[in-house]
């Protein structure tokens, strides 16, 4: 497939330990790059950048390749894979971090294979803003760059994060992060403040309540699909971002209409993520499943 419509994705690759209402799960394959790449792969060629330890199962990389993900940019390094240990509330509405083990991720300095640099779409998953800048600098000339971030970087690396914001087209963050970054509670005011820092597009994720997109045309909203079975929200936000970029790459358009179209796909794919523990459900989702879910999402708002 053509590089012009490919998406390069950088972020964490993880073996998480998850305390979920349905049980305790160890070494669950996760990480922002993993979820996002799987989501992109439903729409467009994806070049995944990341690092794993020697404990990371080769079979997972094979599974990813089987879904069309180019994993040649995933480095295997001596040591253990990044691990997040998290505990979800019984209702899945909140979670707490019990432990974060950076492991091989601590010294990660991403180097992009040549084919990755030519991709037209770039998704900078939630990693240190300096690494996001480093990856961006290695790209030839992407048409569209989106980034995620988190409260930690807003707290301790604001200057580097502001430099990222100056260089990207689209920021995708959750509502609490948006409020923290802008320093105001009102979502519209916060969106204006953050867009004034650089990104012409801001997407505010609100978990089970859906997402808001702010651009020059105004505000667009997409609901989250109300699921009957919710197992594990880990990676839903990354799946959302991946599907958004994947769909834009598939269309090879980033205009207002394309963005609103992609927003529907993003919420549809994110809803599948929550239906299984880790990447389990995403690994089996087909484009036909996505179309069906998208129709259900659209019916919600009609």
């Amino acid at each position: 497939m053509k590089n012009t419509s490919a998406v390069t994705v950088v972020g964490s690759v993880a073996l998480d330990d998850l305390h979920l209402p349905s049980g305790y799960f160890e070494n669950v394959v996760g990480g922002a790059a993993t979820f996002a790449s799987l989501a992109v792969s439903l729409f467009a060629p994806v070049r995944m950048v990341g690092i794993v330890g020697t404990d990371f199962p080769d079979s997972v990389l094979t599974d990813l390749a089987g879904r069309g993900v180019d994993t040649s940019g995933v480095l295997k390094s001596a040591g253990k894979t990044f691990k997040w240990v998290g505990k979800y509330a019984q209702n899945l509405a909140s979670r707490e971090t019990l432990d974060t083990q950076l492991n091989v991720f601590a010294d990660f300095r991403p180097t992009l294979p040549e084919s990755y640099r030519q991709a037209s779409y770039l998704l900078l998953g939630n990693i240190h803003p300096s690494l996001q800048l480093d990856v961006l600098a290695q790209m030839d000339k992407p048409k569209f760059v989106a980034a995620d971030t988190m409260n930690l970087w807003i707290d301790i690396e604001r200057a580097a994060l502001v430099r990222v914001l100056e260089k990207i087209d689209c920021l995708i963050i959750n509502d609490e992060e948006l409020r923290q970054l802008a320093g105001v509670h009102n979502i519209r005011q916060a969106a204006k403040i953050v867009r004034d820092l650089g990104p012409r597009i801001l997407i505010c994720k609100r978990g089970e309540y859906g997402a808001l997109l702010f651009d020059d045309l105004g505000i667009a909203f997409v609901p989250a699909f109300p699921l009957e079975t919710e197992l594990d929200p880990t990676g839903a936000g990354d799946s959302f971002a991946g599907a958004l970029l994947g769909r834009l790459a598939e269309l090879d358009r980033t205009d207002h209409t394309a963005l609103r179209d992609a927003l529907g796909y993003a919420t549809a794919v994110a809803s599948f993520c929550v239906e299984g523990v880790g990447t389990k459900r995403l690994l089996s989702v087909t484009p036909a499943d996505v179309s069906e879910r998208l129709a259900a999402v659209r019916a919600l708002a009609s």
Copy 2:
């Protein structure tokens, strides 16, 4: 106007003391019946049932009458008007009740004027479920009955509340109340459990995140309109319910399509309520304002 398309509204009428981020406001005109009646009045004739004390300003009843609200069913009784004293968080996202003074509301036994009994639409605002049953029993034969309730009645008056549920077409409650009433966290499962108790239509209000409607056709969603200026969320839920019933009465239809249409009007009118302290903004809203806001809400989801 014809009684067939009139809405009878019962609920509290209040003089609230509000600790808002914008200041402290005493004796603010409020109450579920007041907000809901003002909202209905944008669409259909409304018959308001309630009780006030001798401290309640006649000018307010005149203002209501000026908006087309029939207040002949609002009893004036010796004593003080019902008062809620509430304090909102700086971000308006949560609130705490500092005091509830029932005053004349304590012995309220609503008696409906004859013209009220013939209304085709009935909105049972959040009052004791036994009073809701009492009002319902006085109605001739309403075509459509909607009710609100609250955590207090779910806690201490479940049996009476279940009898209400058996007799109504539509329950309008917020998400935490829905979860409490159903005893499960998952919204879809909770909606099924509550609909099995009686109401064929369930509307779950989610504050700044919008609302979900569950009926035989499936699920419909409407976003809340993201406001630049949010002053006082008091009464937004009552305005939502009032506009919903008002629009259904105006259409004189309660089918799936009418419900989805009315849902948009409900979120539009509720958004105005938040723009002023108490009933201030609602008192000046025109049908043209509502049409404009509705177009903005629809643009959000398109």
